[in-house]
Subunit: 216 residues, 2 copies
């Protein structure tokens, strides 16, 4: 089984570590704040209090033996950068970093990070999409401007069939799945009758989906 | 057109405000740090430096005239809570908050928040799902344990048709969309031939999708 290390146990790092453990993996959690390490020692497989920018300290916990190391250090970009460089110098196979801006992301990729995420930036975009599409609940952007979106059924569609609503012609969207209570109907047939508590999962351009979600 | 206010212009708040502006909406950005307000005054429609827990200060910028107010104050939960209570006391129609833990979320909902997001928590879960499914790129969880997932095509499927791979019987997953370069094939036909750079968008149980993504 794969082994993971998570450096930086703030809100994001804790969530990564605890979800990996929930899925049955073992995790080494690292932070330079002894209090945080102490508090999490019961929930994380193994913990260590050290400064991750110190190559000797990383060598001492045999960091290179972990398949994947997540660097979840936030505010201090220099610490984030120095840690990433140290991990690659110690031949860690796969390093994932989190950072704040596109510019920082490019720098981290250039010094060897294998994957970089921008959690607050992505979450902010997702919320803005949800706020500007009234019934939008969640979305997965397949490419810029084109997404799979989960939205509440517009009232005017209730009591009509999928073919009667003519969504493909009127909005250019495809209904992939319909969720009603705990039941999921995949690739619904033309004569599916919509009910008031249906949730639609549709694919299309963000602008077309926003038009559909404004339908009342 | 709808008007938005965003209180707290940290990483998350900025991303919400700037994405709303990108989509053509006007935004009032509020922060008690004058330096941040100064730095963002060119990019955000209107800005104000004030302490959002102060009801008089909120009344002075006519906060109740905004359709939606996002409270993006992080580390200081008390400030987050007092701001939410003040907004609801001033009759703001729709208040969205961000916070860190489930417990804090329940408290915010009880004092009147209309919607609460946990950006770092959700981003951490999403990354952990991606790390434990080798080819997984992104996912939209429709209900706990059941999601739509974007994943790289397993090598052993390349050169075979959809019907030959028999995914529904072997893994219990449905292929909703296939992405190749900039082309999206929705509800692919049985004789679709897979290529090495295809990305699959599949629906199924997280555990079944993880099994599929471990296929080499
Ligand atoms: N050099 C370092 N070595 C080990 N741990 C570190 C180092 N620098 C920072 N950390 C730890 O990383 C964690 C996250 O850092 P920080 O709080 O700056 O980021 P953040 O982006 O606000 O976090 P989050 O949003 O995940 O709560 C903190 O717990 C901090 O103690
Ligand atoms: N009472 C308040 N009134 C107005 N602004 C506030 C108040 N309290 C905090 N803020 C601002 O909210 C912003 C976000 O707060 P903070 O940095 O504590 O959270 P954070 O969760 O680390 O942010 P992020 O992850 O979005 O960067 C900061 O810019 C801060 O100045």
């Amino acid at each position: 089984k794969k082994e993971f290390a998570v450096i930086g146990l703030g809100r994001f790092g804790q969530s990564v570590a605890l979800t990996l453990i929930e899925r049955g993996y073992s995790v080494l959690g690292i932070d330079h704040d002894r209090e945080i390490v102490q508090r999490l020692s019961e929930q994380i497989t193994q913990v260590a209090a050290l400064d991750a920018t110190d190559e000797e300290a990383l060598r001492a916990v045999d960091i290179a033996s972990f398949d994947t190391v997540v660097v979840a250090i936030g505010e201090n970009f220099e610490g984030n950068l120095m840690t990433t460089v140290a991990l690659k110098a110690l031949d860690v196979r796969y390093v994932v970093c989190k950072t704040t801006t596109e510019r920082q992301r490019r720098i981290l990729l250039r010094v060897g990070a294998d994957h970089v995420v921008l959690p607050e930036h992505d979450a902010g975009r997702r919320l803005a999409h949800m706020l500007t599409g009234p019934g939008v609940l969640d979305l997965l952007e397949l490419e810029p401007g084109y997404s799979i979106t989960e939205l509440r059924i517009p009232r005017s569609m209730v009591g009509h069939t999928l073919i009667e609503t003519n969504l493909r012609h009127r909005f250019g969207v495809t209904v992939l799945v319909i969720k009603r209570e705990q039941t999921l109907t995949v690739s619904p047939s033309a004569n599916y009758m919509f009910a008031s508590n249906d949730l639609l999962v549709v694919l299309g351009k963000n602008a077309d989906i926003a038009r559909l979600s404004e339908l009342t």
